[in-house]
């Protein structure tokens, strides 16, 4: 039922987190399991993003990964009123900060303001991706 991007994305997150978390080795031939605390990790699809100035920056709708499975950019649905005029833009993964769920109400913070993001071109699948990086500059994703 779920589309490809989510599957890819979940796989990415699991891979990325697995590298950090403790792995409990099972018996040979048995799949090993990893236990992640609920305050340690979180799903981010559809999560609202705030800017450092606490502005609403929209919601994460997709994550772009490279051949190694490393996250390169997040696609956020930005702006608009009741769904009119919103636009999907790509922001560099490094510009996003994930505050542990236990600490704050808004757990994803983008190191950019609305003013810096407003010029970003719309993200379109199958077209070269222009990513807005933490300095506010636009860079094509190689």
């Amino acid at each position: 039922m779920h589309g490809k991007p989510l599957a890819v994305f979940l796989a990415t997150m699991v891979a990325a987190v697995a590298a950090m978390a403790q792995t409990e080795g099972g018996a040979p031939g048995q799949p090993s399991v990893t236990v992640l605390g609920t305050k340690e990790v979180q799903g981010i699809l559809g999560r609202e993003i705030r800017s450092t100035a606490d502005e609403n920056m929209g919601r994460i709708v997709d994550v772009l990964v490279d051949g190694e499975g490393a996250a390169r950019a997040a696609i956020i649905d930005f702006g608009g009123f009741l769904g009119v005029g919103s636009r999907k833009i790509a922001v560099a993964w490094q510009a996003l900060h994930f505050v542990p769920a236990a600490e704050k109400r808004y757990s994803v913070v983008l190191e950019l303001t609305r003013d810096q993001v407003k010029e970003a071109p719309e993200y379109k699948e199958g077209k070269p991706v222009i990513v807005i990086v933490a300095s506010g500059k636009l860079e094509p994703l190689p």
Partner: protein, 416 residues
């Protein structure tokens, strides 16, 4: 042309003030109920961790249903004897759909809800027009459609503001709970319209005094009517030019102004509704007095003008002012589309089926519009996209001007 002018003025029906007031409120509440189902569905489903692929699929299927359902929906309303019951069922379907969205956002349920809402909308539109025509008859329908447009736009504007607030302060989910809760007042108001005052024959576009000498027209003979085909094509071109203009302008606004974009887009959505609320009853009265064509030409002329202005104006507050032209066009269209159809189908018993036919052409235009505008804006930038849309609008205007006949029946011209 000659065929629509020969009828004597029908004996005027006498709807009670109470029924007419209830119809005002019903139109108002239906517009409220429909507000949350626009582009907002995508926002809501995103907040429920839906992927873009799934959201796209649901919206596409709902779009197809609402396109293909127009003609069957209209045919259904022409067949039934109680327009009130049909309207009640449709409103209940929409409220059910809202409740499913709010409580059960999983793929099959939402797909069913979206389909339900799209199908119900195909019935509800013609049903409201049919109740109106059944209540007041052809002689007074222009002004009645004007009132309908007024209350629909007050409802849409007000609920966009209120639901926008609910979505912002509570959760996107809250919008759908509010929508579902509106079912009760909507049904109560509908009950207040006296069923005895809605003449089923009039509601279907028949003239009761001529009931015996005319069989019901079939779809083929309807589609053979030249003025109807011309009108349908005008409407198709109009929506091809119109549908993408507001969203395109919205995304342009978000690139220009960061702080105020949301407020400005809100103003661009609500502002025209105020214009419609103020103007549409006047449009209805003028349509009876000076005829349909001058108003149609004026309404269609405002669209290319708006396109050209949006291509050139840069100041965000001026954009909102230009957007008020949208209200002018919308006021004319909201009255003139059902009114022209009522004119063209006098005595055929196919008023609602014909609304379905024109609705399909409207939907086709609106469906192609974003792709057309999106292509232009991606390749050449948004000013060119606005000018492209304005070009299509000019074509629609030329068609109305040169090809569309005056449809006001001669017999009514003497009634002030």
């Amino acid at each position: 042309m000659a065929s629509v002018t020969e009828f004597p003025p029908p004996s005027s029906p006498h709807p009670s003030r109470r029924s007419l007031k209830r119809l005002d409120w019903f139109v108002f509440l239906v517009a409220d109920v429909q507000t949350g189902f626009g582009p907002f569905v995508a926002v809501y489903l995103t907040s429920q961790k839906w992927t873009q692929v799934e959201i796209g699929l649901v919206l596409t299927i709902a779009g197809l249903v609402s396109l293909l359902g127009q003609i069957p929906g209209g045919a259904l309303v022409d067949t039934v004897r109680s327009e009130r019951v049909v309207a009640a069922v449709a409103v209940t379907m929409i409220a059910t759909s809202a409740l499913i969205y709010a409580t059960w956002p999983i793929f099959p349920a939402v797909l069913a809800a979206a389909t339900l809402q799209a199908a119900a909308s195909c019935i509800l539109g013609p049903a409201i027009a049919a109740i109106s025509l059944g209540l007041v008859g052809h002689a007074a329908i222009g002004e009645r459609f004007g009132r309908n447009a007024r209350f629909a736009s007050i409802g849409a504007g007000l609920s966009a503001a209120v639901m926008g607030g609910f979505g912002f302060f509570f959760s996107p989910q809250a919008v759908f709970f509010v929508t579902a809760a509106l079912l009760l007042p909507t049904l109560l108001v509908l009950r207040g319209i006296a069923p005895g005052e809605i003449d089923a024959e009039r509601a279907h576009g028949n003239l009761p005094e001529l009931r015996t000498n005319r069989p019901r027209a079939d779809l083929r003979s309807l589609l053979g009517k030249r003025p109807l085909l011309i009108f349908g094509s005008c409407i198709l071109l109009f929506h091809l030019a119109n549908a993408a203009m507001l969203p395109l302008m919205g995304s342009v606004l978000t690139t220009r102004s960061s702080q105020w974009a949301t407020v400005l887009i809100g103003a661009c959505m609500v502002g025209p509704q105020i214009v419609v609320a103020l103007f549409s009853p006047w449009v209805g009265r003028q349509a009876q007095r000076i005829g349909r064509k001058p108003l149609l030409v004026a309404g269609f002329a405002a669209l290319p003008l708006r396109g050209f202005l949006l291509a050139t104006v840069r100041d965000p507050s001026l954009v909102v002012a230009v957007q008020l032209l949208d209200g002018l066009t919308a006021a004319v269209l909201a009255v003139m589309v059902p009114l022209t159809i009522a004119d063209l189908t006098r005595g055929t018993g196919r008023f609602n089926l014909t609304q379905g036919v024109v609705g399909t052409m409207m939907g086709l235009g609106a469906a192609i519009s974003p792709t057309f505008a999106g292509y232009l804006s991606d390749t050449f930038g948004s000013p060119v996209a606005f000018i492209g849309l304005a070009g299509v609008a000019l074509l629609a205007l030329a068609m109305v001007w040169f090809l569309m006949p005056e449809t006001r029946p001669k017999a009514e011209a003497i009634i002030p």
